[in-house]
Subunit: 100 residues, 4 copies
């Protein structure tokens, strides 16, 4: 249904994997709320920019760990089945968007 | 007290300005929660990466609008008072961090 | 000798592949010389920044095509031999550096 | 004639400034040629990516120093003359392109 090769991961994430990513995403959610508070309190622009750049960096790290897992599972499985090229091209397309 | 030149903006944000940024930050907060849901539902890695990159892009836009306002108010005022260089160097330091 | 898994590509680039990348790199070299000329002629800073950002973008595209080829050959071969993880981790390390 | 506010810097670069930037651009030009050699010698993709990312980083630094000078001279002068907003908006447009 989706525009990508799959809708769900073929190798489901373990509970431990999920918890690790969830903790990072909860922390990022808290940082976004922190910036809302800074805006309301008229905090100094430069301090707000520093916080935004901290979130960017945290999100990038989540992105890297999702990418690494994707290569170790989905892409590797596709390669093993001789369907690597589609999977690699799909990943490249998203990496290009990601590093914009 | 802060490590930066000021703790608060010298020209307070208008209510309209605040509301505009707040709307964007609320939306970003919702997008971060959306990714949490995707992780829990074992959604496909590439779809998660696409969402992360959408948030990166939305955050960057908030960063640009904060930067532009900062230049038009804080930096411009500092330049008018003959104290532009400190203000410009402070901004450059954060821009370098921001585009990492 | 190198700090990486190999010193040379395991699947040598074809002449056509080499020529395609070389053409792009020659063009980038010309763009870098173009900026040198702009500096000497005291051209407007913003025009210089536009040119720098054009080179960044061209270099990124070369990087993407090298990455894609690397995944389709070196990483795929490593996965087929059951040595995928080292190869993927090596690639992730350079992608993190690349998108800084 | 150009699409930007000016064709030339209003405060010409000193010889020392020019030499400093030129040295960095000559070094970048050499790095681009180094990558051409690596391609011809079929060097390992990951080593090529590391070199590309070194050039990206060197170019970014040239970009930052051009931006900082632009703010300290052109933008500051425009602000002093009460024409800051156009100059700031022009700079923001190029910064957005730059950090893509």
């Amino acid at each position: 249904m989706g525009e990508h090769l799959h809708d769900y991961t073929l190798t489901p994430r373990t509970d431990e994997e999920k918890q690790k990513v969830m903790r990072r995403l909860k922390r990022i959610e808290g940082q976004v709320r922190g910036i809302q508070k800074m805006i309301e309190e008229d905090r100094y622009c430069v301090d707000i920019l520093v916080q935004i750049s901290a979130i960017q960096s945290a999100l990038k790290n989540v992105g890297y760990s999702v990418t690494e897992r994707h290569m170790k599972h989905c892409v590797s499985d596709a390669i093993a089945k001789g369907e690597g090229d589609d999977s690699i091209e799909e990943l490249m397309a998203v990496l290009k968007q990601f590093s914009k």
